[in-house]
Symmetry: C2
Subunit: 263 residues, 2 copies
DNA sequence: CGCGTTTTTGAAGCCCCTCAAGTGTAGTGG
DNA sequence: CCACTACACTTGAGGGGCTTCAAAAACGCG
């Protein structure tokens, strides 16, 4: 089976066979990292670029008061930023949530790679734009959705992203994360996340499995509940659950047209 | 006076005189846009790249139910993403908040520019990394800070960014935005923002001026109230208010070291 | 089996929202 | 100059969603 990183990139762009082979080789030197291990910490000098090949990780920031806010989940195929190395220090930490298989690419190597392979460069740009779009969607959830919608939206997003890298098997996505992780991602308490999940379970949208992992049962109904519109993930390859049609939001206060601005 | 965009880039990197002249020329064809005008809308096909030279703008998303969530404020010197043009459609809208002066750069021109001028390219990478860091800080605010801290943090961030482009005059930063805008940015109601601002005014941290604009009076105390740590803005040029020393947050649950991962 | 972690349940309370009204300010036109 | 309008800001009362605190049950791993 092709690795998750390549599989994800192919969801955005068509890559030439030579590019594919090159990426395959670059990722070959992966190493296993146990669960709950920091790959890099806030304040550290940025080092190599990480690519998660198996397992789950997250970006997070700690508050002076002791709280933790997760700002992104990294699934297999996800990377940390391309150009972090030009910064003096990390402004957030990255840690594994489960045992993970992580490719470690020297930033210099990646730089050379992008300079000589425009196809790969373009695919990486795409992933970065999607990462930013995900951050914005995260903000919308935290700012304007209630707890049920937040959980449903997060699960819907993870479902779509998991589909893209083949993490959904038998129509089931197993989430190897705790309710505490979800709470820290959504700005809630684990207690309230628990109650929300009970609601969703009662409505047959998710299920709690053995082994501290729950599954998404009905992604369509879940997306409906969340007000989830998958456009922002910017995938162009056909995906399942196409019935989640993008709906244009009602026009708001800022109604004046700016069409003439562009030209 | 040099334009805000160039001034901002110089806060990150040293640019050669020829690069400066080139940027100056690229920005010369700016146009005036009246307040509350969409530069581009969610769903639109991405067009040219905008650079705000004067005035304020914001990125925002509308919800199906009608709410608005602002995900970023664009100050003079700020741009929209470099590579948006490779996406099929915008996942968010960008609108002016005040009357603004906006440079409109064809994406093709910008592409050529970056291919031939590595210094400019590097500076633009930097701004993009900072934009992402700002998004993450935004998430932390929405997820883990109460209303007073959120407002104080936003004002502190805007203060620092305004300093970088010379928007702070006589130790005063005028914010030409409404309390509604702040509310839509912070996931609050305008009513509650109003009460929070009254608290901050009572403590002599901000002031309400004539002409629907308020000023930051005591940025140091404000930053203290917010738990604001300016590191994430990644500026290397000396800035004022250096007394806001970055403090390393307490180590959290994810304590295991991953130092050995990097090499 | 035993212990740490995670999940679950209950009760009390607070932060912020909703609804509703009222005040102030700027701009417009008679 | 003053009505008239539109918009932003302000104030109050009541309610709900989520938190905090506390403890028990369930699970998983050595």
């Amino acid at each position: 089976m092709v690795n998750a990183f390549i599989r994800k990139l192919q969801g955005y762009c068509s890559l030439d066979p030579p590019d594919l082979a090159l990426l395959e080789r670059v990722c070959s030197g992966a190493r296993v990292v146990s669960a709950h291990t920091d790959l890099i910490r806030e304040g550290d000098k940025p080092g190599p670029v990480f690519i998660v090949l198996e397992g789950w990780a997250c970006r997070y920031k700690l508050l002076p008061e002791g709280g933790r806010q997760i700002t992104a989940f990294l699934l297999p195929g996800d990377t940390c930023d391309l150009h972090v190395s030009i910064l003096q220090h990390m402004d957030h930490s990255i840690a594994t949530l489960t045992k993970a298989n992580v490719a470690v690419i020297p930033s210099l190597l990646l730089e050379q790679l992008t300079e000589t392979h425009p196809g790969i460069t373009r695919a990486l740009w795409w992933t970065q734009l999607v990462d930013e779009a995900v951050l914005r969607a995260w903000i919308v959830s935290l700012g304007r959705r209630d707890a049920v919608q937040r959980v449903a939206h997060l699960l819907s997003e993870l479902w779509q992203r998991a589909l893209a890298v083949g993490l959904v098997v038998d129509d089931i996505l197993r989430l190897p994360i705790t309710q505490m992780d979800i709470a820290d991602a959504l700005g809630l308490t684990n207690i309230h996340v628990n109650r929300v999940l009970q609601d969703l379970r009662h409505d047959q949208l998710v299920r709690l499995d053995k082994g501290r992992a729950f599954s998404v049962l009905d992604p369509t109904a879940l997306a409906l509940r969340a007000g989830f519109q998958p456009d922002y993930l910017h995938r162009f390859k056909p995906r399942r659950n196409e019935e989640l049609a993008p709906c244009r939001p009602a026009t708001g206060r800022l109604g004046r047209s700016g069409a003439d601005i562009s030209r």
